[in-house]
């Protein structure tokens, strides 16, 4: 069986994760002192990814029911990382915070994606009939 709701959530999550990965690539590039040239194309790409994340993050996190835990951290990352050049000019402490918060967001999204994929796999092994029969005849949870 395939759940449309689950597929939609997975699609949103995959798109969101893809953007966070791209953002991280550019942040890493910005922090790499061995690469002195930052092109306008890279800045444009960074702004585009940031714009996508700014407008989509809250909506996607709400759809996934993880808005409370992650919204603040995601916004902190997006506010600190204003441009590739801006990332390069951050202090050591700010860079550490940026990486920590990016990691928190990425880890949580990755975990949720894994959970959704596990659900999808479980559903794929069931027919619509067995799924609904299972729900119908499942024993109710007994209160301790």
């Amino acid at each position: 069986m395939k759940s449309r709701e689950l597929e939609t959530k997975l699609r949103l999550l995959t798109l969101q994760l893809e953007n966070w990965k791209k953002l991280h690539d550019l942040i890493t590039y910005g922090l790499d002192k061995a690469k002195p040239i930052i092109s306008s194309e890279q800045e444009r790409h960074f702004t585009e990814i940031r714009a996508n994340l700014l407008q989509e993050t809250e909506y996607v996190l709400r759809q996934l029911n993880i808005l409370d835990g992650l919204s603040g951290k995601a916004m902190n990352v997006l506010q600190r990382a204003s441009s590739v050049r801006g990332v390069r000019d951050l202090t050591g402490e700010d860079v550490r915070r940026l990486e920590m918060e990016w990691n928190a967001v990425f880890t949580k999204l990755g975990v949720v994606q894994g959970q959704f994929k596990a659900q999808r796999k479980q559903l794929a092994g069931q027919t619509a009939i067995s799924y609904h029969l299972g729900r119908l005849f499942r024993r109710p949870a007994v209160a301790a």
């Binding site: 699609r11 909506y59 996607v60 092994g125 069931q126 027919t127």
Partner: protein, 282 residues
């Protein structure tokens, strides 16, 4: 309805595959897992280009409910990278009619055999529809109700679902040359055969399908791939990076669909390939 039948058939296999603990013999488990893998392998793959896939997702929501694998990209260069790297059964471009058609026309030049669809929230103007017809680009409009849109998308998906029969392998004694496209590109082997003034038939087999190119005295005489014939079929084979090829000496085509010298074809197609790679790096 057909989609549902196909889904049920596949789910039956999936359900049975998971019941090893219920006492299936190892042979039955193996057979079922093979069936499962087989059915998994023929899943239709669609690439969807949508600049705003989170908020403009009416059509994407329809695709979510269908039994197929989708990949969503936001920009045209990303789409080209995906099309070059992986095999897709169709490419769906969602957006304003004129802009989507421009991208579709561009994609058509580089991927002649690909099924391309333009999805748009508005009805397609007459000139856009005309270009679509010329370039073999299908048009689906959102102006329909969601149910109508779903029906049209389902019909389109049904039309691209192929049986996915694995191509027959094995060396026939009449094959004078056999090889892999990941070791020698089509351009290399065709160049070699044309330089040595060969006459015969090249058969290329890949996940995309089979194609035949006929040579006569070192020139390409006829090429066919699905509904494509002539130079566009040659252009298609140039892009293949995976698959096998066989050459049968002396098989001559009565039909002639290519009348340009090999050198011209080679230069044009290599140039086209470079242009495709350039698009991907924009």
């Amino acid at each position: 309805m057909w989609l549902h039948r196909r889904t049920l058939r596949r789910r039956w296999c999936a359900g049975r595959g998971g019941s090893d603990s219920l006492g299936n013999t190892p042979q039955a488990s193996f057979l079922l897992s093979w069936l499962l893998q087989h059915f998994e392998a023929v899943e239709t793959r669609v690439l969807i280009l949508n600049a705003d896939p989170v908020f403009q997702d009416r059509a994407l929501a329809v695709f979510d409910g269908l039994d197929l694998e989708t990949e969503v990209v936001r920009t045209f260069p990303e789409a080209i990278v995906s099309l070059l790297a992986e095999n897709f059964d169709a490419f769906v471009i969602e957006g304003q009619p004129a802009a989507a058609m421009e991208q579709a026309t561009n994609a058509r030049q580089h991927f002649p055999s690909l099924r391309i669809v333009c999805l748009s929230a508005q009805a397609h103007p007459h000139d856009v529809a005309l270009v679509g017809e010329q370039q073999k680009i299908e048009l689906i409009s959102y102006a329909w109700t969601t149910r109508g849109l779903r029906r049209r998308i389902e019909r389109f998906v049904r039309s691209i679902e192929t049986p996915g029969a694995p191509s027959a392998e094995g060396v026939d004694p009449c094959h004078s040359l056999v090889g892999n496209l990941n070791q020698f590109s089509a351009a290399e082997i065709l160049q070699m055969s044309c330089l040595s003034q060969r006459s015969g038939r090249f058969t290329f087999k890949s996940g995309r399908g089979n194609s035949e190119i006929y040579l006569q005295h070192g020139s390409v005489r006829h090429a066919v791939f699905g509904s494509l014939e002539g130079e566009s079929a040659v252009a298609e084979v140039f892009r293949w990076r995976q698959g096998r090829f066989y050459f049968e000496e002396g098989v001559i085509s009565q039909v002639q669909t290519v009348d340009r010298p090999w050198a011209h074809l080679l230069i044009d197609n290599l140039q086209k390939l470079d242009e495709t790679l350039e698009l991907a790096s924009v």
